[in-house]
Amino acid sequence: MLDDKKPLVQVQDLKMHFPIYRGILKRQVGAVKAVDGISFDVFEGETLGLVGESGCGKSTVGRCVLRLYEVTGGSIDIDGTDIATLSGAGLRAKRPEMQMIFQDPQASLNPRMTVGSIISEPLDEHMKMSKTEKRERVGELMDAVGLARRFADRYPHEFSGGQRQRIGIARALALNPKFIVCDEPIAALDVSIQAQVVNLLEDLQEKFGLTYLFISHDLSMVRHLATRVAVMYLGRLVELGDSETLYLTPKHPYTQALLSAVPHPDPAQAGNVERIILEGDVPSPANPPPGCTFSTRCPKAQAICKQDSPEWREIGEGHFAACHFIE
């Protein structure tokens, strides 16, 4: 079933290292390896979930994929163009195709711009539209996300969190993108609002044929939304697979630990899963452990794990993982 889909986004060996400066002269003394060699595809029309503990590099992946950072290495192929090395006008021309919805809707909207101008600004930049056309387009977008058109002249701070996220979604949609990175779009919202926004995202996906990279630390939400799921730990992917397969038969010790902590949707089966508690803290990405990055906490770790980095390999159809001890 996956074969007939073609990848819209192909990420190969993506690396993002942030330099660390110290001393009065602010010399570079090291780097935070926020993302350290990641490869995955996102197929057209699907939702790829990206999960992992906070700080593991999910947002960085999202931002890299949209080239909001100068990436340290690797390639990012979107709709046939490698954007990892693009810059300037070339990159800007590519921007309309890919957009982002942020975790904190308040922070992601310029506080000094009205909703109307926030939504229409990309139109000014990328499309030749008359004033009325633009106003009409802004209206349409506001309709699409369920905001009253009369709010166009208000400032972001005058809205509730959910409404602000709708504004963020409307502006992401303005240029008819194909691919949207949703970076924890509901994490900052009230639980009562979360479902509405998720439903909106689903509706829009259907309506406009969108492709999502959906970043979240909420595993049950991802299970509900995503076609496939990728699990991340300390700047690397540890497992990636079809949503159902991954949730039912997690292979990687880290995925297993993560899932064991999630209340099961089916309480009848809940008893089968033994809760795995991880010991210790997540190591610093500035100084990751040698070998398998999970080895400091992995319940199944062996001597080899501390020396050799496990290979990222296909362990089943469309099912990838990085662990020495998975057949």
Binding site: Y21, L25, K26, R63, L66, L68, R92, A93, K94, R95, P96, M98, Q99, M100, F102, Q103, D104, A107, S108, L109, N110, P111, R112, E121, P122, E125, H126, Y155, H157, G168, R171, A172, L175
Partner: protein, 342 residues
């Protein structure tokens, strides 16, 4: 916002009255004698008579009330008379706040000095801002680059090297080393009597402003550029900047329209809060280049125990400080839609 402003203004009045009284009290308690700087050849009896003629034998509260009447009633009436020709009460014999040293009305002295202070100190502030904003922006945008490092270094020097050092250094270079007839020679003494009437006198004015303006301008730039940089850094890491980039805006637009405008909000208020300092003059720089503006007036007043002059000047500074605090708050409200005063 209007209500808020009015309400704040209303509170300002009693505050300022209190401040004026406190200043008076402090000046009165300070051991000062206006005849202290007179030559020793003036005998003590004559000194005593001089003190009496200055009204120093009256009790403190009488002197305060007298000053208040002169400052809060007579001076405004006099202004009305001078500006509009309206004569209310006794226009000729009205007692104004007068300096003990010059025996002339303090307000006139201040008015006489306003132009050079505004030209030199004000211009240095403008120059400071014009230098500081781009430096702050670039330093933040290219954080830790060589530009940023040099900027930080220069700002550190700007803060820490006192203006009397930079001032004298510039004088030694441009007035002493550079020969008089060279194009690069600059006057070390500001001519306050120069009137700008044509191109030549304008150029003279520019030349004599260069050194004091630069000395003060660099000092101001050092401070403001740090604020600018910090504020830019705050904003650069915000999501809305990513949003702007994701929109596919040109980097220039992202920086100038989104980041800079938001970063300017706190900087503008800092700038507004700094404006009273302009009127306070830059005491040291004015002394070095003999600009003889308000700062020098204050210093001379303090040295000569010229209480009415010191009292009036200090109080006016207090008024400006209170006023510009209010202006800064109102500006903040106007610039940042998130702020609402009720």
């Amino acid at each position: 916002m209007l209500n808020y402003t009015l309400r704040r203004l209303m509170f300002t009045i009693p505050t300022l009255l209190l401040i004026s009284f406190i200043i008076f009290l402090i000046l009165d308690l300070a051991p000062n004698d206006p005849t202290g700087n007179l030559p020793l050849t003036i005998p003590p009896e004559v000194r005593e008579k001089i003190r009496q003629s200055l009204g120093l034998d009256a009790p403190m509260y009488i002197r305060y009330l007298l000053w208040s009447q002169q400052f809060f009633i007579n001076e405004p009436l006099n202004l009305l008379n001078q500006w509009f020709g309206w004569c209310i009460g006794d226009c000729e014999g009205r007692l104004r706040v007068s300096s003990w040293a010059t025996r002339s009305p303090v307000v006139d002295l201040i008015a006489e000095r306003m132009p050079q202070t505004l030209w030199v100190v004000g211009m240095s502030y403008v120059v400071g801002i014009l230098i500081a904003v781009p430096i702050g922006v670039i330093s933040a945008y290219k954080q830790y680059s060589w530009f940023d490092q040099i900027g930080t270094f220069i700002a550190m020097i700007g803060f820490s090297v006192p203006t009397f050092f930079t001032g004298v250094l510039l004088i030694v270079i441009f007035s002493v080393w550079v020969p008089n007839d060279s194009f690069f020679w600059l006057p070390s003494i500001y001519d306050t009597t120069l009137e700008v009437v044509d191109w030549d006198s304008f150029m003279l004015q520019v030349r004599q402003m260069i050194m004091p303006v630069m000395v003060l301008g660099l000092f101001n730039a050092a401070q403001i550029s740090r604020f600018m940089r910090a504020s830019m850094l705050d904003n650069l890491s915000q999501d809305y900047v990513r949003t702007a980039r994701a929109k596919g805006l040109k980097e220039k637009t992202v920086l100038l329209v989104h980041v800079l405008r938001n970063s300017m909000i706190p900087v503008v208020t800092v700038i507004a809060l700094g404006i009273p300092q302009i009127f306070g003059g830059a005491i040291i720089t004015e002394q070095i280049f003999k600009v003889n503006g308000l700062g020098q007036l204050l210093i001379i007043g303090i040295q000569g125990a010229d209480i009415p002059l010191v009292q009036t000047l200090t109080f006016l500074f207090a008024v400006l400080i209170v006023l510009f605090n209010l202006i800064a708050d109102v500006l903040y409200g106007l610039l940042d839609p998130r702020i609402r005063y009720e």
